[in-house]
Amino acid sequence: MNHLLSIEDLDRAAIERIVAQAERFAEVSDREIKKVPALRGRMVLNLFYEASTRTRSSFELAAKRLSADVVNFAASGSSVEKGESLKDTVLTLSAHKPDAIVLRTPWAGASELVSRWCSAAIVNAGDGKHEHPTQALLDVYTLHRRLGGLDALKIWIVGDVAHSRVARSDILAFQRMGAQVTVAGPPTLIPRGIDQLGCEVRYTLDELDSADVVYALRMQRERMSETWVPSLREYAAWYQINGRRLTPRQVLMHPGPVNRGVELSGEVVDSPQAVITAQVEAGVVVRMAVLYELLSGAGARAPGGEGAGDGERARPEPTAARDGDQDALLDIAESGVAAGRDA
């Protein structure tokens, strides 16, 4: 594994490997000295184009517990505000030869793009509304710890699926681990064609009691100004997970931060079914496992990378047609953009 760009790239074995590694790191976290020297001398760069407290600090903590050096680069108050492009920012920061770049941006596919511009291992910490793979891994880890596994679990993901990168990564990860996923929410917030990912779609919570796990998504207040739903009050009436809807045998998850009184009632947040704080705890050990997998596990790249400035991979010039391509007309003949993800 060279990068963690999306759950789509991971098979079940890779997810299980990361979960198992995270479990080993969890033991470390219970010790008095919580630090291991696994990544001593390695540099992890946090590059965040969106405000984030918990994900960024979770990555920072994970890197530090592995004894890596951490540099935080927030886009606000930086050259980005002076108009520097993503590419130039990445190339500039690459000059410091980070071993891994943890990247959050508001743009789908940005992590993959960056992976072609520099030699560091790229960890997608959220790319637009596309994916948030470490969140999905920590959710799998949390369920694994709580329930022993995901096979045949029925998991409902409830709320604003359209604007949720967590939902996309979770749908893929939960299904890959053997669970059946249903998404439920207002029709304006369930994107057309999402069922093609293999999940069921519901517009009411009438059958919520069939779920083993209820995963509530954050309802962002700015969606209101775009009139995706008529009112938060009505949203809460139809879709809030509360004591009336949640049964004692169900597990309740949420990626945080919670809007109490909107997607979750206060009572369920504090209920024994809720594993929301366990998810936060899992964040650190799972991110430790991801960084460890990328920087020291089998197949990890050599320390220091192969030198920055590999930018030309971004837009490879097409090469002359090879003899073997004679039947591949209109196919992409270059080893380029579409095929070049994981060399």
Partner: protein, 450 residues
């Protein structure tokens, strides 16, 4: 008709060329066979059976070996030459060089420049520049509304008199039905086709690609196809009511083709174009998030693609137009959602359509040639013909030549071609535009002078 010649540029020395033993193919002239075609002083002087014509003194000779195809040169009613104001993307010289390289002998340039082409003086200066710089003749469409703001009509009559071939707010719809209706009424005074970019902004707002399973998987806001088709239906009804002449640009979905078919059935004076990328690619190709595949309207689904091919075949869609939209490398080398809309297309249109539709047997070659030339007539301009006495607007193509799009770089200033890196078959070797040699591929040497 406007008093000025609608197309300008392509001035050069009139060509004297003998195209010997070529497969001359012009469906309108019902020619398809091995011929010698003699061009003298920029006109087709004579067409004879192969091996019958001699090259006069001073004429160059191209040997088609009974194999190279000679076609009427293509016409593209929809290109962005980016002059004035965005010459870092393209200009009159590079854009028309790209056109010539793609086998085109005439293009219509869009007015969404900076400043917008919405005044007669600007049109005058553009035409002067084109006379000096354009390799192939260029016509200019002027804006329907001032500054493309969708509110006040531009001075259409004055623009028409200054040589505007037609009017469009391309890049944006004329969202307000009342405004478009006034333009249709004013068309009775000034003539000129109204070319319409159809998109309901309340439906497309925020979208960066086609709405569907792919956009859902990528988490990118989608543009539903009804954003286009509902506007096509609306404006076809308006055109019918006012008996106006409208041309629907870059259709992208089955619903739009259906709306055009219904309008034609009802007798409305409407025509339509489709781009090579909408005929050949789908939103599945966008999974790679290659920004060269981001354009307006977006690539749609496979059933829409098939419907467009069928509509082109049956004539519901009248012609192919590339919507050649150059952008600088740094503008496209950004995350997909940030990238500007548009792909270049002039240099690959024929080869891509030949490869993707003719070779698999979906469309006959003659029909493709007809649809790639028909755009001129839709705007009241003469069609390229392989006929004695006609000006030489000719394209010589090697239908067997295989190449990879972009392997030798681009004639365009920009490289944002959605077909870049794809293996294509069919290569333009020579383009004669308005009687002058506009393009010669490096693969072909004019075989000496007789």
């Amino acid at each position: 008709m406007s008093p000025r010649a609608p197309l300008i540029g392509g001035a050069g020395d009139p060509a004297d060329v003998l195209l010997r033993d070529v497969r001359a193919l012009d469906p309108r002239e019902r020619i398809d066979g091995r011929h010698d075609v003699l061009v003298r002083a920029g006109e087709i002087a004579e067409i004879g059976a192969h091996g019958t014509l001699e090259a006069p003194d001073g004429a160059e000779i191209v040997d088609g070996e009974g194999r190279l195809a000679l076609l009427p040169a293509f016409f593209d009613p929809h290109v962005h030459l980016r002059t004035p104001g965005q010459e870092h993307k393209e200009d009159l010289e590079t854009g028309t060089r790209a056109a010539a390289a793609g086998g085109y002998a005439g293009v219509l340039a869009m007015p969404n420049t900076d400043p917008v082409l919405d005044s007669a003086p600007l049109l005058g200066s553009l035409r002067e520049a084109a006379a000096r710089q354009a390799r192939v003749p260029v016509g200019f469409l002027a804006a329907i509304t001032r500054g493309l703001q969708g509110e006040l009509l531009s001075e259409m009559a004055e623009l028409s008199e200054a040589g505007a071939v037609g009017f469009t707010d391309d890049g944006k719809p004329v969202a307000d039905a009342g405004t478009l209706r006034k333009a249709l009424q004013y068309q009775r005074l000034c003539g000129g086709v109204l070319a319409l970019h159809e998109e309901d902004p309340t439906l497309s707002r925020g979208g960066a690609m086609n709405e569907g399973a792919v956009s859902s998987a990528l988490g990118i806001a989608g543009i539903p196809t009804v954003a286009e088709s509902t506007m096509v239906a609306r404006d076809a009804a308006l055109a019918g009511y006012e008996d106006g002449r409208v041309h629907f640009m870059h259709l992208s979905c089955a619903g739009s083709a259906d709306a055009v078919a219904a309008a034609k059935q009802a007798g409305a004076r409407v025509s339509a174009e489709v781009s090579p990328h909408h005929l050949l690619l789908t939103d599945e190709d966008v999974r790679s998030l290659d920004t060269r595949l981001k354009m307006h309207p977006p690539l749609t689904g496979e059933s829409d693609r098939r419907a467009l091919v069928e509509a082109l075949r049956d004539g519901t869609i009248d012609c192919v137009a590339t919507d050649h939209a150059p952008h600088a490398r740094e503008e496209k080398e950004v995350p997909f959602e940030q990238a500007p809309m548009g792909t270049t297309g002039l240099e690959t249109a024929f080869a891509a359509l030949h490869t993707g539709l003719v070779l698999p047997g979906v469309l006959p070659l003659g029909l493709l040639v007809e649809r790639m030339t028909a755009g001129a007539a839709l705007f009241g301009l003469p069609l390229a013909r392989i006929a004695a006495g006609a000006p030489a607007n000719l394209t010589l193509v090697d239908l067997d030549a295989r190449w990879v799009a972009g392997e030798h770089g681009w004639a365009s200033r920009s490289e944002n071609c959605c077909f870049a890196g794809r293996a294509l078959q069919g290569r333009v070797l020579l383009t004669l535009a308005a009687g002058t040699l506009a393009h010669r591929d490096r693969a072909i040497a004019l075989a000496g002078t007789a």
